[in-house]
């Protein structure tokens, strides 16, 4: 004879639900746009650039080499956006952004410069970490979410410090993805 404890009866539906769809139960309330688009190959550490123009040219070169996107188009888009006003957030961080005509999807690059460069930041500090966002013309939703996520990330002083201590691109990408998922939970 099998004796069934009432607690077992109650727990069975919940157990079934958890086993059937654990990812649904554990998934964050909102997927991270940043984590979705950031790849290890787009984390560039210790990039040498003496000025914003140098930096944007290097981003263009990377995009052309990696994705076949026009180097001039990317660099020109970033320079044009920067002429409207500095993309520096403060705390040594900037979020240069360009809407790229021939981009078929959104690209996110994290760059740590070999040496900080002047960026007309609101706090006057030179910039050494950048999150570069390249978005297609029609991408308002993801564009907005990326900015919100990036702001949440870089508002965290501990995360900024940890980013500066990372030795390789994999560590940086993992830290940013973890931070982005945590930030999304806060945004939701």
């Amino acid at each position: 004879m099998t004796v069934r404890h009432p607690l077992m009866e109650w727990s069975t539906p919940l157990r079934r639900l958890l086993m059937a769809a654990p990812e649904r139960m554990l998934a964050p309330a909102m997927a991270s746009t940043l984590a979705e688009h950031l790849t290890v190959g787009d984390v560039l550490l210790d990039l040498a650039a003496a000025s914003r123009d140098d930096l944007f040219a290097a981003v263009g070169q990377h995009m052309a080499h990696t994705y076949g996107v026009s180097a001039d188009g990317v660099a020109h888009g970033l320079r044009r956006r920067e002429r409207i006003g500095s993309s520096a957030l403060g705390h040594g961080v900037a979020i240069p952004c360009a809407r790229v005509q021939d981009a078929e999807r959104m690209y996110v690059l994290f760059i740590r410069l070999a040496a900080p460069i002047p960026f007309d930041a609101p706090d006057g500090l030179p910039v050494s970490e950048l999150l570069v966002l390249l978005v297609p013309k029609q991408a308002t939703e993801k564009h907005l979410h990326l900015f919100a996520e990036a702001t949440q990330l870089f508002a965290d002083q501990r995360l900024r410090q940890r980013l500066r201590l990372c030795c390789d691109a994999t560590q940086v990408a993992q830290l940013l993805r973890e931070g982005a998922h945590r930030g999304c939970a806060n945004l939701a």
Binding site: G85, T140, E141, L144, F147, A148
Partner: protein
Amino acid sequence: MQTDLCVGIAARHDVLEIAALSPDGSMTQTSFPASRLGLTALKLFLAAYGPSARLAVSGVAAPSLALALENESGSATFIVSSSIAPQAKALARYAEHTA
């Protein structure tokens, strides 16, 4: 002038609730910290749209927030009473109808 984006901003004490309404009618919502960093990031986002965006702002310190955003982005900006449109989505719709 063609409006590419209508944005509603409901300013609370610790957060700026944002809703963006695209020309295709899709609405998206998020939030930024109500700090200098959050305001700077919001200006960076709006700078990509410039004068083709329309903003409606309500809530805490709405006049100074609206002024800061309009000066920086060149977007047409409206200050709205919280009793008329308290939520970011309603503010984005308000900005759309002022066109």
